[in-house]
Symmetry: D2
């Protein structure tokens, strides 16, 4: 017996990827799929890949979803997700939020980065950060999942084990990330048309990007700190469709060696099917992870500056969004964690 799922706000690239995964998932049926913009249209009109699927966009109708579904994915702009999450949680559904509303534990940080009061601060403590490799147990029992952003996934997975093992300092971390253009969403804006992105390399939002506090929060947790940390996160837009590669420089602690780094990763990810750690002195490459739910990690040590340099590559739409969301769903419902994902 398959569960019934709803996808609210499915007209963007993360929504399309969620459909791609869910349509091959053998234990979940898509019961409802909503889009204000495309309500009434067949999904195949918007995404020709799904020709033959018969799915049709509807307006979001909370009571109908509450009545007929077991789980709901929210793929909405920030601020809106809380509105749907509250009644659906009360109706007993599992809510998996792909947007940013429940990622930060601190309402003050939310306000600082999103310029608004948090719409449902009482939910923040209940939400579990949907990174299975770090919070699998809590995900299993959670009702509300806050799926990590794409940049944070590509940064936290490589960096956290080093902090946890005390091999690197939580202070002075620098992250330089490159993202494909689907990372900006399916937006129709002049800087995103093909001739403006192709043959173009550019940094953007080098200060105070909204994914920054989420990375700081999780790396402080990984380091076992009960204080805040401050780090630099610099995103770049580059001409590929899918994929993020994050390069992370950390100050090595005394005793940090390539062997001990390898051990830390083995301990953290030795049994993980969606994390691949390359041999020392390798480099992760997005082309080996696109269209998969895998995170590829590589590491190096620079004795000259005493830095650990790690890189993490993911598909921003899969492990960085919809794949990870389904991985969480699989854990919550006791399915094979890889169902729909290979």
């Amino acid at each position: 017996m398959a569960i019934q799922v709803a996808v609210i706000g499915a007209a963007g690239y993360a929504g399309e990827e969620l459909l791609r995964i869910l349509t091959r998932h053998r234990q979940a049926d898509i019961a409802v799929i909503t889009s204000r913009k495309y309500a009434g249209q067949e999904v195949s009109e918007v995404f020709p890949r799904f020709t033959g699927s018969k799915l049709r966009f509807s307006d979001p109708d909370v009571s109908r979803i509450a009545a007929g579904c077991d789980a709901v994915f929210l793929a909405l702009p920030h601020g809106l997700a809380a509105e749907y999450a509250l009644p659906l949680l009360e109706s007993g559904l599992k809510v998996i939020d792909i947007s940013a509303d429940f990622r930060l534990k601190s309402p003050a940080k939310y306000k600082e980065y999103y310029s608004e009061d948090h719409p449902a601060p009482e939910l923040l403590s209940k939400a579990v950060y949907g990174l299975p490799e770090r919070y699998r147990k809590q995900i299993k029992d959670a009702a509300l999942i806050a799926c990590p952003g794409c940049y944070p996934t590509s940064s936290i997975l490589p960096a956290a084990p080093l902090l946890e093992a005390g091999l690197a300092s939580p202070d002075g971390i620098v992250i330089a990330s490159m993202s494909g253009v689907t990372g900006t969403g399916r937006k129709v804006e002049l800087p995103l048309i093909f001739p403006e992105c192709n043959e173009s390399l550019r940094a953007y939002k080098t200060v105070a990007h909204r994914h920054l506090p989420e990375i700081e929060q999780e790396l402080a947790f990984a380091a076992g700190l009960d204080r805040e940390i401050a780090l630099n996160f610099v995103p770049h837009l580059v001409p590929v469709n899918r994929g993020i590669n994050s390069t992370i420089l950390l100050n090595a602690n005394p005793g940090c060696t390539l062997e001990r780094i390898a051990e830390a990763y083995e301990k953290a990810y030795g049994n993980e099917q969606f994390v691949r750690v390359l041999p020392a002195n390798s480099f992760s490459d997005t082309k080996y992870v696109t269209m998969t739910n895998c995170c590829e990690i590589a590491y190096n040590l620079d004795p000259h500056t005493n830095k650990v340099i790690v890189t993490g590559a993911i598909d921003n739409l899969t492990k960085g969004a919809s794949g990870q969301a389904v991985q969480c769903m699989n854990i919550m419902f006791g399915f094979d964690e890889a169902e729909g994902l290979v």
Copy 2:
């Protein structure tokens, strides 16, 4: 009366770009163009863009070049340039080396990074680093120019004025650069074929890249230090043909403000036609500099970590190699500095 120039080792992308520039230069004639691989062939057979030019590759013949030329460009693998530079300098030619042989002042550093003894250490003190915006006077009187590498040009131009003005610390600098694939040269290797580069984002040589000591040398000079500095330089390969964007994070010194940064750039580059400094909180973009000799600089200040974040975009083949080489030649011979370059 035009000067006669030779290009030695012209079969790569930097050589092609040099030809593109020199064929439209009104005060320099290409007298000799050599390539061991293509000797005897017309240039247009190798680079169809030059159909109609009648130039033909020859084997390099030092005495013929010495007899007939006023200036020579060397575009050779490291270690080889010195071999040609010595006799040509003795014959009174101006030598402009696009390779790496004369960039480092220290033979020890050369050995550390190139794994060989320097072939002509006595020339190192005579060579002038060919970055006109910093060494214009010395270039004017030099016989031997060591043209900077592409990554260094994109890093030194943005960072040096901040160090010179004391606005940022020379310690703890992190540089993350992205380069188009022509930056690897015209190499025929599996990792460089189209399907391996397209839709791929990857770091490489994150430790001890050969451009690193050159950046450290020049930034230490800019900071007025007589000691060495150590910084991190992480290059990435991304799927564009031309262009480098370097993101540089420096620790801000007390009193560093956006206004003082603007002043430092104005002082350094206010009269420079090939450096464009964008307004505060902008981002440089390679698409605005490709096929030009321009370096575009942008700057931001992150109060949260107290870092200055600057970015520099250049065309790796023009300002990063052949354009800058011709700019140096123009200065050496008293031509309009922009001749052939706009």
Copy 3:
């Protein structure tokens, strides 16, 4: 109980795609995978995507394969496949050839286009052309499958139903195709490095391409002719990784209308899960078929020249090679035809 399969010559892109599909196939196990070049190496060393798979390349050993396998895929240069096919067929294995050796019924045509005598002409009449939408019944009972080339698949599927229904003439057909660079194989050659392909559009082999006689053979069959036809096939190389779009212009016969074209396609493909026919006056797009086994077909009618203009888009490595090969295997062994393919 899964069948045991061998893949001979698996080091190219079609081989990689075959592995990607077979590793998720629930009724086929990869027992042997060979590559002369990489024998002894783990597959994951050559294709990092397969890290964790434990598969290892071996030298091709026919007797070992014959003893342990039920089916074998040949992904070899033309001329070599016959060598392996003969003994393996005699040992009772099902042989699925992805190369060109058994596609043409006429040994004379083979010699004309491949400049050699056919190595095993006696097998030509036994081989079944592996296009399931046209030869499903014969595939079911065949021992030897000649998988179509990528260009032919993208051309025959759109054109054949029109000829079969008498809506267009088999004479005067023009096909202009565009292919991504993986279509050339995993070759390390100067014209295929990134800077030579990116931002480049070029025709190649506009006369006598090796896929031409295969298209002519199949379209003559579709038209019910027992004479040869001659058509023009012009391939172009364009900067995408995967995907072929073929545009086919045919002379419309009297009575050809958009409605009758729609009927012909409905009759041919109404029950096909891997062919998607768009509404009249649409255009197929490779981005909707890459990483799938689907062929997307679109059609238009030009009253001004009385031509039917149809386009077919496929993923050259999936429906154009390895996906179709697995589709054939599924049919031969009575598996669900889509197993491993969605």
Copy 4:
């Protein structure tokens, strides 16, 4: 003494390219540059490449332009150009129209393809088609130039000499063209954002494209016909920024050989600096013409179908639009035809 020129409607890619060319033109000064959308803004705000230029967009003011300028370029949507052309011609200015308004000699054809009555049919007979390699003499004395479209330039230049020499038939011509995305203009539409174009190959407007009647008109002229011809023109959108490659198939006439084709091209273009004819059995490549005003032509002969297959590659913004417009201006004012173009 430089002439004063105005550019009306300069905010698109053709406008940007015109600026790039005119700013380095030594005998023409940009006196006025207009854009309703950007009036009042500095050009460098819209196109950062021109930082430092001091040019500023204004609203189009015909009387001011008439009073102060010698020549005007119109880069406007069809239907609008006529409005400006009339008063400016009356004021004695030379008018060079990059839009489509004056390309067709027949107002009926204009109405058929543009769905409106022609706004100034009396000007059609006065306008000269701005293809210098075919109409240089008429351009010299013209007051109004209708610059060819990009697809027509890439098609007419390769095909016309064959028709003129009687080597191929004007009937049954098929043209398949591929264009980079700047060819669609600087439009902000969903199908043109990066993720929708990258890794995508698609035909569009395969029937009745607006460039079709222009090609038919000029090829009928080349063939010396006083009747209309009908041909097929199929455009495709491919993921490059700049460049068009057109592949043209013509029915060979008796006596057509590679030698005679070479002679026809030599006669037509032997003295042309912006047309490059490759040796027989070569293939033109856009990467050798982008950022130049050159058209590269290649030719083959297919004995199997008796077709001549020629290809033409241009930069759609340069030889296909703004470069050719400046070439016309140079001819009209007696300047070196290549001024600003190399």
